[in-house]
């Protein structure tokens, strides 16, 4: 802490000796957090694998009832948001403060758009009586005997997309925090670690969706309705 003033601008916290050490710690911390997230979603992917292996036909038929074009569009929205997130990090590297804010806001808007589309899709499920646990549950194209098993697919659908959406909401919260701080001029080319690690998180949530989309929407699409 020889150069106190400089340490202040770098937001160097007392437990660290150098800015480099601090950045290493933050980045490593986020990567480890993402590993815990993989294990978290991993539990559900394991359940998905078991049931899809047990009930391949039911899963294939239930999958066709999902709205693949809307899902695809939402995938694109999310990919765009990852791109704008990368641009925000790049702006951080260059120290362009207004650009950071601009791209963060753009990312946030894409995030909200994704959540909006998701909400519409869930609404559809309610209208179509595809809600597991409801007495009036009915999936067209399957005999009465397999309706119960079809509920299993929709249970997984809601659990997986629901938890993904919850992560998006947390991500939106992080973005809002960053935007507020970026507007105050907290981030510079010397110190943009928060933007960097938030980017890692955002891309991770994006990647989870990249797995969810084909697993839920695109099973045996050729079977038709």
């Amino acid at each position: 802490m020889a150069d106190h003033a400089r340490a202040e601008t770098l937001a160097l916290r007392v437990q660290f000796d150098t800015a480099e050490q601090q950045k290493d710690a933050s980045t490593l911390g986020m990567w480890i957090f993402l590993i815990t997230e993989i294990m978290f979603f991993g539990g559900m992917f394991a359940a998905y694998t078991v049931y899809r292996t047990w009930y391949p036909t039911v899963f294939a038929v239930a999958s066709t009832s999902l709205n693949a074009p809307i899902g695809a569009a939402n995938t694109c929205i999310l990919l765009f948001s990852s791109f704008t997130m990368v641009m925000a990090v790049r702006a951080g590297q260059l120290g362009r403060q207004r650009m950071i804010v601009f791209f963060l806001v753009l990312t946030l808007l894409f995030g909200f758009a994704f959540l909006g589309v998701k909400a519409v899709e869930w609404k559809e499920k309610f209208d179509e009586h595809h809600i597991p646990g409801q007495a009036e549950f009915h999936l067209e194209g399957l005999p009465a005997t397999q309706q119960a098993t079809a509920q299993l697919f929709f249970s997984l659908y809601f659990a997986m997309t629901g938890l993904h959406a919850a992560h998006m909401v947390v991500g939106a919260g992080i973005l809002i925090f960053l935007i507020v701080h970026a507007r105050k001029g907290r981030y510079s080319a010397d110190y943009y670690t928060p933007v960097d690690v938030a980017g890692l998180y955002w891309h991770f949530v994006d990647i989870i969706w990249i797995f969810l989309f084909p697993l839920l929407y695109l099973i045996d699409r050729h079977l038709g309705k």
């Binding site: 009930y55 036909t57 005999p143 009465a144 005997t145 397999q146 119960a148 098993t149």
Partner: protein, 322 residues
């Protein structure tokens, strides 16, 4: 207070096998416990600090020792593993000539049914010296069928059949416990297994309720539920015939084969669309909710009675395959 004991009675062919393995493990445990306790006591006294300024010689690790005390325990554990696995496989595979009994667990009682149609609650009568195979289902939560004197235990899981077996070797009365926590009166889900001389057993069976055998009741149910409208004996119906089915391989539509065992029959009654026989349409409705586990058992037994004769049936039973 009841009679105090330190060791459970051995009342099945499996019990001595389990106990022998236990003796071996006990010997290993006692040896290592004494070794470690002895060494600690001896070192603690022999090498107690005699002066505040004492600085012992540094003894860095020795690879020979490390390898020695890794390899020896490893060798011992592999003996335990092999021995334990062989006992386990004996206990998991019922012999061909085992007599069949069905058990249904529900909160908080055991319902047992003999092939002859005699039903018991929280009591099971079996003859001494004959292998008994118990096929189990649960109507609600997970239970576990546990007879300590036989050293057997098997969870009873809703949604599937599980099996266990034993050959009683000693006439007497033994505890039957539910060993998997199943709710409020878990500790009340207990009963007795009565092991009887074969003749006493026959007498007991004869004195039981004369409600017809499982298969007979199953046949009645089969007609009541109108199963016979489609499953015709001469294979002329909309559905495959069930005559001679049990124990055979069934070709499924969409490829694949499945052995027609109890689990398959149960699934086909409760979830008919899960596996469709090749060449047939999925027209059968589900009977989930229409029949309870007891009735499923009767239907399964009826189908089994239509199957190949007992000798062939035993050879075809999946669990009996050696």
């Amino acid at each position: 207070m009841g009679e105090f004991q330190l060791f459970p009675v051995q009342a099945s062919t499996l019990a001595p096998e389990v106990d022998h393995l236990l003796y071996f493990l006990l010997a290993v445990t006692v040896f290592f416990t004494l070794l470690i306790f002895g060494a600690i006591f001896y070192f603690a006294i022999r090498y107690r600090r005699r002066s505040e300024k004492e600085l012992p010689h540094v003894v860095h690790g020795g690879y020979t020792l490390e390898i020695l005390w890794s390899v020896i325990p490893f060798g011992l554990t592999m003996v335990m593993f092999t021995w334990g696995a062989s006992v386990f496989f004996t206990g998991a595979r019922p012999p061909d000539n085992a007599m069949q009994i069905y058990a249904v667990g529900k909160q908080w009682m055991w319902k047992l049914e003999h092939m002859e149609g005699v039903r018991e609650i929280n009591e099971l009568h079996v003859p001494v010296g004959r292998p008994v195979r118990i096929t189990m289902a649960s109507e609600d939560v997970i239970h576990s069928f546990y007879v300590p004197a036989f050293r057997t235990k098997q969870d009873v899981v809703p949604g599937r059949y599980t099996t266990t077996w034993f050959t009683p070797t000693k006439v007497g009365r033994y505890h039957l416990f539910c060993a998997e926590y199943c709710g409020t009166r878990h500790s009340g889900m207990i009963g007795w297994v009565y092991v009887m001389e074969p003749r006493d057993y026959e007498d007991w069976l004869g004195g039981g309720t004369g409600g017809g055998s499982l298969a007979e009741n199953g046949k009645l149910l089969f007609q009541q539920l109108a199963c016979s409208n489609c499953h015709k004996d001469d294979n002329s119906g909309r559905c495959p015939t069930l005559v001679g089915l049990f124990g055979k391989d069934v070709q499924l539509s969409g490829g694949g084969k499945v052995k027609a065992d109890e689990a398959y029959l149960r699934e086909s009654i409760l979830q008919p669309q899960a596996k469709i026989v090749a060449g047939y349409e999925p027209v059968m409705p589900t009977f989930t909710g229409l029949v309870n586990e007891d009735q499923v058992v009767q239907l399964v037994e009826y189908v089994k009675s239509l199957g190949p004769k007992p000798s062939a049936q035993a050879a075809g039973a999946p669990a009996a395959k050696k």
